[in-house]
Subunit: 148 residues, 2 copies
DNA sequence: TTGATTGCAAATATTTTGCAGGCAT
DNA sequence: ATGCCTGCAAAATATTTGCAATCAA
């Protein structure tokens, strides 16, 4: 909730609406609310958490709409499901490119990091076992500065 | 279901019973059945799949027991939860050491691979973002030889 | 105006809990 | 004999679907 936070709203959010429009989705109030929350949060969020936050801005929203909206955001490539040791109900805004994530086990704060040079390594592992590689996940868990 | 398969029963299974005994669990028939299935399968399995296989050998088993038994196996470090893009209900026998997994998206066949040299890389990422790293996941998805 | 989207209620699916009886130790 | 483990039923969670009303385009 700092300067960066405000900035991200201005930069990312209109972009999200464009992509959603392009996908043929209608820009409704619930969709805007849910998008805002996810576009501007630097931690992973599950549907109930999004629902609770959304209710504050738009009390008549239902959790079903949150589920359906998050599905659309995922389809549009705007958010990704994040897998944690104890579950995988949470989502985080997608990065353009890699999906290498560093997540705080306590508060859920997340950051993307670079790991381009790993692609060759993955291909090699695939060859070694006779697999045709389609995708990979690299995720690191720990405690962020605030939670240590 | 080849030569290796039979061999793994002989090598791993007694070891599993020892570890379970050591943890203070009682060696019951349902626990043996569920252990056998998981110890000897080279694909990831979810509780319902284990349940179906278990029922063939021991019809009176209930799915609740499968859940509870798999929880024990996880506690004993004998199986690990495996996360896939579409869910994380499946488990796979644990490796001694790393948890770097290569999984077939079609049939669930899985293999562990080496990636020791990555630990330093992970530590560096942690330092860079101010996180204290506790754990990591590296998983590769693709199609195995049979499923290509 | 048109049909995609919403919110409610209900249905599914998945996992957990309570409890009396059974079985490993 | 003790008390952990089992299987059933029921409860708790999480997610999806049906449908009439609403609202973006």
């Amino acid at each position: 909730m700092n300067q960066n936070f405000q900035q991200k709203i201005l930069v990312n959010y209109p972009n999200w609406m464009d992509k959603l429009r392009l996908k043929g989705f209608r820009i409704t109030r619930p969709l805007q609310i849910v998008s805002e929350i996810l576009a501007n949060c630097d931690s992973i969020l599950n549907p109930s958490e999004v629902y609770l936050q959304a209710k504050e801005k738009y009390p008549r929203i239902g959790i079903v709409t949150v589920y359906r909206t998050m599905e659309k955001l995922e389809q549009a490539g705007l958010i990704d499901r994040v897998h944690m040791p104890d579950g995988c109900q949470s989502f985080f805004k997608a990065s353009s490119g890699h999906q290498h994530l560093l997540v705080c086990q306590n508060c859920g704060k997340a950051e993307y990091f670079e790991g381009d040079n790993l692609n060759l390594f993955f291909k090699n592992i695939g060859d070694q076992f006779g697999y045709k590689i389609n995708d990979h996940w690299l995720q690191i868990f720990g405690l962020c500065k605030n939670c240590q």
